[in-house]
Amino acid sequence: MRKIFDFHGGIHPPENKRQSLGEPIRDAGIPGQLVIPLSQHIGAPSAPIVAVGERVLKGQVIAEAGGFVSVPQHAPSSGTVIAIEERPIPHPSGFRAPCVVIECDGRDEWLPHTGIDNYPGVSPSELLEHIREAGIAGMGGAGFPAAVKLRQKPGATVDTLIINGTECEPYITADDALMRERAADIIAGAEILRHIVGPAETLIGVEDNKPEGIAALRAAAGDSGIEVVEFPTKYPSGGEKQLIEILTGKQVPSGGLPADIGVVCQNLGTTVAVRDAILDGRPLISRITTITGEAVAHPGNYEVLLGTPISHLLELAGYDATRNNRLVMGGPMMGFTLTDTAAPVVKTTNCLLAPTEAELPTPPPAQACIRCGLCAEACPASLLPQQLFWFARGKEYEKLEEHNLFDCIECGACSWACPSQIPLVQYYRASKAEILQQRRDHDKSEQSRLRFEARQERLAREAEEKEAKRAARKKAAELKARQAATGAENEDPIQAAIERAKAKKAAQQQAAGSESEVDKLEQAVVTASKRLQTATAKLEQARAEGSDLVDALQTGVDKTRAKLEKAEQALADHRAAQGNGGALSTGAEAAPVDAAQAAIEKARAARAADADLSPRDKARKQLESLQQRLAKSEKRLADSRNAGEEDKIVEALEASVERLRDKIAATETELATHAAAENH
């Protein structure tokens, strides 16, 4: 006989299991409509792959897994998809969620399917793929995808595989019924799981309040090496961590997983579903659900197609709404009140409880905590529920976490034990959710902060770049100015002369007054006249078109003209004032006072004239000027000779005359080629 361990705390609520065990499992039949929620499991919702109006066969995939932690959904019976929309789902929030709705044709036509004949010859990973494709999610608790739970980390070894047949919660007998009637299937499923997981030992844990089930299982197990372990009834021995402690004496560390201590747990119903999927190729499309409570006439276990509306089931069981105070999905300890009987049976619906008010009274108002400590005695997770209660009320989330709130399995034992009827577990559920929400919010705000800072950085960088560009431009301009000042000789002599003249003028003006004033005034005149031009043009156009804007434009033109006159007046005044100083150029028409300025103007004019000439004309002009210069030079030479000047001077003059002659010759040939080119 195997040594059995005990866990801390626990309670003994009335079992109320007999009511639903009077008859064998009944078939709930095919309802008119099946409503399949896309999210019946923990993890990502599945994605529908059928269209409205499509005919589907029993067992056909209607929604694919939406991620790694997800499972597909299958059509539980043949029929037509009539809607993919939000429908009420069994959830404590009472919210609606996306569902595939199938109108059944009653023919229950199967998609052809076959099982795997020789599964021991198939690799575990392939079997896991089959399990995943069969849509199997944990059928006892929260609905965690079975394939994900069974998949092992590489290198990890599993000592113990535990099939959880505890079913410790009052009223529920779905697993008990399976044990009594389908013990062989359970053992077959356990053998498949054993093949996949490869544990040293395989145990099926059952509470001693199910003697028939235990006997049936033991008979079916025979000498397969699967051990059926019986232990005293106590709530909540079906909690995964509690069951592991009972069977192995090992405790799962706080915040850890059973796999950390070499244990894998599976629910009994899930085990049968695995058997069906592997041996028959039958996906998870139905389950055993207990319907019980004094408000139903025929309590018992029903084999229900997933998606069957709860109202259909209640009708079958002879439900009397007038006697029922609230309809509970799940057991009395961990279940929740259903708000809508249109919600369907899903993969995790193990029980529907329709109690009368006398059977399950509305809890009376909570009293103050008297610090009796009964809750701590009852807590299977060895927590301090009254402490947690205080912290939860004060919203002291940090303290809650320090006191291991997240080890609470929400079994409700503390609430049940509390003489002050404090709904303790409700506080823990709310606080856990709040903490998780805060963690999510914090992650989000962290992200926002990073984005905000990134933006700030970006803005700063952009401003810096702009500043750097501006500085670079300024530097380049300065450099150019300096170059213009120092390297003037190397450049265009006229430009250099202009620069020099400008510098000179600037120096003069600095003494005489401000040049910028004149510039400004000149600028004002120019812009005003420009504006006047455009305004007049517009006015003209408006007149031509007969637009009613003529008046407005006319005033605009008048105003602009007035402005122009004013600007011109101001400029004239300023010039007059400066003119008295006598050191200023007063425009192109005014007599050049400045010699340098005059030379510049001349050179500029000449160059401007040159620019307009054709190469031939240019050459001819050059020739003319050269001939003039030659004439001058010859005259000078003759004068010098006549005057009997020094040889040196005469020689120099002769050389220059010679050079001029050469140049003239060159220019003449150039001219000739131009003429030839143009004549062609």
């Binding site: 929030s93 004094e294 009395p332 929740f336 009376p364």
Partner: protein
């Protein structure tokens, strides 16, 4: 040494104390230099608690400046997006009494996400410039859109939009965000069936 102690016990004790004082003083001084913290750690911690909505409702140009202001003694109740939870967390951190939210700066509202009615958007890029977290995508004369997952719901983009095509859509509770609420004291609003205590009446 021993002789000295037995002869002048008072002086010896004094010397010992002075010596100890010098040693620990040096130790502390060394620690202060060696383990010097960079920046303003308290402002960082405060900033970590603030919701980072960057909405400016607190009267500061973003959460970080408000965090610095709090570190310098400003009231902790000026952040409406953070609301009560943030005030509690700040009170915890700074070891002061929590105070109710200063309504002058706004009320705690359901979190919203901006939504641009895209066919009305004229592509003026004004909202992009306003968004503190770069949660709006678009370019000049192109339709703009909000990356909902990055939007903090700060409202800042609504006002600059010249054609008023941005809506703030409150985020309704859905299946993913729903959770149990704390029971109200003294009221039997409890849906948990966990207090089936009346064993006599249960069959």
């Amino acid at each position: 040494m021993l002789e000295f102690i037995s002869q002048y016990p008072l002086l010896a004790a004094l010397l010992a104390l002075v010596g100890l004082g010098a040693v620990f003083g040096a130790l502390l001084g060394f620690a202060a230099v060696r383990f010097k913290t960079e920046g303003d750690p308290i402002a960082d911690q405060i900033n970590d608690i603030l919701p980072q909505t960057q909405c400016g409702q607190c009267g500061h140009p973003g959460c970080r400046p408000y965090a610095e202001a709090i570190a310098n003694g400003e009231a902790i109740n000026k952040c409406p997006p953070g609301g009560e939870a943030t005030i509690h967390a700040l009170a915890d951190l700074l070891d002061v009494e929590p105070i109710p939210l200063d309504e002058e700066h706004g009320e705690e509202k359901v979190k919203a996400v901006a939504y641009i009615r895209e066919d009305e958007c004229i592509g003026c890029t004004k909202c992009i410039q306003a968004c503190p977290v770069d949660a709006i995508l678009g370019a000049a004369k192109q339709m703009h859109t909000v990356i909902a997952s990055e939007c903090t719901g700060c409202d800042l983009c609504v006002e600059p939009c010249p054609v008023d095509c941005i809506d703030m859509i409150p985020q309704e509770e859905n299946l993913q965000t729903w959770h149990w609420q704390l029971p109200e004291l003294g009221r039997a609003n409890v849906d948990v069936i966990a207090s089936d205590l009346d064993t006599d009446r249960a069959a």
